[in-house]
Symmetry: C2
Subunit: 468 residues, 2 copies
Amino acid sequence: MGVAHALPTRAPLPPAFVESLRGLFCERLHLSEAVRRQHGASETHFEVQLPDAVVYPHSTEEVVALVKLCAAHTVPLVPFGAGTSIEGNTIPVRGGVTVDLSEMNRIVAVNPDDFDCTVEAGVRREQLNEHLRDKGLFFPIDPGANATIGGMASTRASGTNAVRYGTMREAILSLRVVTPDGRDIRTARRARKSAAGYDLTRLMIGAEGTLGIITEVTLRLHGIPEDISSAVCSFETLAGAVDTVVQSIQLGVPLARVEILDDVQMRAVNRHSKLDYPERTTLFFEFHGSPNSVADQVAVVSALAADNGGGDFQYSNLPEQRSKLWKARHEAFYAAVALRKGAQGWPTDVCVPIGRLADCINETKRDLDTASFPAPILGHVGDGNFHVIFVIDPNNPAEQKEAEALNARLVERALAMDGTCTGEHGIGIGKQDWLVRELGEDGVAMMRAIKRAIDPKNLFNPGKIFAD
Amino acid sequence: MGVAHALPTRAPLPPAFVESLRGLFCERLHLSEAVRRQHGASETHFEVQLPDAVVYPHSTEEVVALVKLCAAHTVPLVPFGAGTSIEGNTIPVRGGVTVDLSEMNRIVAVNPDDFDCTVEAGVRREQLNEHLRDKGLFFPIDPGANATIGGMASTRASGTNAVRYGTMREAILSLRVVTPDGRDIRTARRARKSAAGYDLTRLMIGAEGTLGIITEVTLRLHGIPEDISSAVCSFETLAGAVDTVVQSIQLGVPLARVEILDDVQMRAVNRHSKLDYPERTTLFFEFHGSPNSVADQVAVVSALAADNGGGDFQYSNLPEQRSKLWKARHEAFYAAVALRKGAQGWPTDVCVPIGRLADCINETKRDLDTASFPAPILGHVGDGNFHVIFVIDPNNPAEQKEAEALNARLVERALAMDGTCTGEHGIGIGKQDWLVRELGEDGVAMMRAIKRAIDPKNLFNPGKIFAD
């Protein structure tokens, strides 16, 4: 199973290095196969590859010491958060030390008057939002998984709220980063905007740990809206659903979330979450604002939905209805995988200009018609980003091959529409060839030049984004 | 007059180089002192320094040929748009060729269904908005000056709409860039979001032409709101004005613009634009949305203003009222300079976390009390960004020195509040020492490493952001 990545046989870690590592981390150094395996696997179809060691730092200073030690012994380092990435981003393909940041999970500061907070990289998004709730603030980025903030920064994550609140690119004000030469830098101050030199913050966001290890993140926060309401509406056609969203955006409706689920995905959701929605193309909405503003948004969107062949527009401002809806959406991936016993999910991730989205999904659905496994579709329709989930038998190489071919055609289709091979999952080891197709050898050459300049020994998550 | 930047005596351009340049650009090569002077001056207090030649390319291909020629002869290049930058960003401190992109002013494509467009770097923002108007779309970033889009990208410009629509960082989807080794790259596709490798787009935004010459920009657009209304309100105290804005943001009011002008600035505006506003701290507002939503926003904000010591909340949905208001705001810099005959304006540019803004402005006003020249304040209060305009006599070195000292204390104050030395003007030659204070030697070292990797000969706008 899995994509083969032939690797040179690796030498074991030098004993002197291991001793120094133990000196730094004591019982927080793990060499057991169980812990290493947990850090060498991923949630998707990639081959498991074990790190040689796993450490759990408790401070930026410990990360600095670790980086210096690894540099002295030429040992690779792979930062690790919650392990929920999709493209094999944390698999240690060159071995070395996995730096599990999950115990760096302190909320360092919340500044309600400034609408920001600073957290250690291992803080998870649900933990942060629980902490913020009684301050009337929330952190909007929601990729589904309860990922760490550091991991979300490293893959430039986004998810269901991005249409209104942006992605991690917009959510982060500043990062604390340990660089490959062991410096501890802050990429920016806490001002909302700055024109102070190169945008090191954005350079680190989405770099997948190849340019630095993020240890602290300063985030923009938002006031919890006075009213939060949700709605569900199914459509006769996919184009009708997409047009409803495009026209809403054209009219300036500040949709907080709008998710599309196709008929196959709705069947999976109904089964898994014991619901009885119509099994047709469906939009899930969330509206944020004052009660007047939300009422206004709902009036505009429900009228547009009716014009575009939408059925019953089921609106609710009851928190329990909303929770039920979004719980179903959050479980959609697992619902898809549950369509088939013993199956594994392989989520694709293209994003296209929004005017091409209906075409892209429709052409993809035609291509999926003959697939020998279920392949539901769900997406962040306001951003032009959608996922096909290939529900494949992990022990059947033919299905793996078929999924690869379907994914290849999907990415080709998105690139032909001037879209991207990855809206929010990153490149990892799964999309490296596509990155070159997307930006050309010259674009990737500039990335490589930056990598060589900042990590000349190629020790920070080597083999990711581009091959060594 | 002006900040002294002692430079080595430069050799004249090699005759063979000039001949090749003439071969490439014919009558679009300028060697006259008049044209060179126009490209060596700036709108502010920096010493004029002339380029050796000025060329006006008409295509990316011509820029590629130019870059290769300059590389072969080790001649510096300085990209130039409308020349409206503030920190000496386009002054050719090492001489060489100024690349005036103003004749690359084609609107390449508008994609209304995708809410985006692609323009050449020399297109000006007013030209673009005129072109877009009948398509129901607009480009929101408004730094005041009618700058070029390429120049706005290069300084990470923002302005009055940033509180709602973000800065150039958020507005740009993709760039076409000629790199120092003469490659013609696109930094991204047109998808709304992407997680495809390093964020080359954001790296080029704000790089002030030191890493590449931007020749095309793909921009996010927005639907023209159904209703646009404006309001003016003066306040008893500065804190009252700032609190009104902070509380509005807390309640999620999607303010489209909110500008603060202090008593001195209001006096200047009244005189210059023949208006009769109260000469107290004043907020200028703009609201975008459906008529219901705008009415709702106005109700919330006017109530908050009243609670915070605001006077008469003068609301209007008449376009001519709105135009009058924003014309006055756009002319505020010139109104300030006009306070004093023969004076020059020196605009500062700090940005602080919004909870610190009232303190920062108040402390600054106390510091300005004893200034020997007028120093009005205006700012983008929703972002925590404000400008003091030192209205100084350009022939009086003592005033120049006094302004420098006031600016130094202002930046110190902003940095102590975890703010930035520049919210939107960039570093240029004016803020290089402050950049080091803001991010530390280690942060700037990473910028230098990137610069060396991408422009090893240091030919692209040398001497900007950091000293050679």
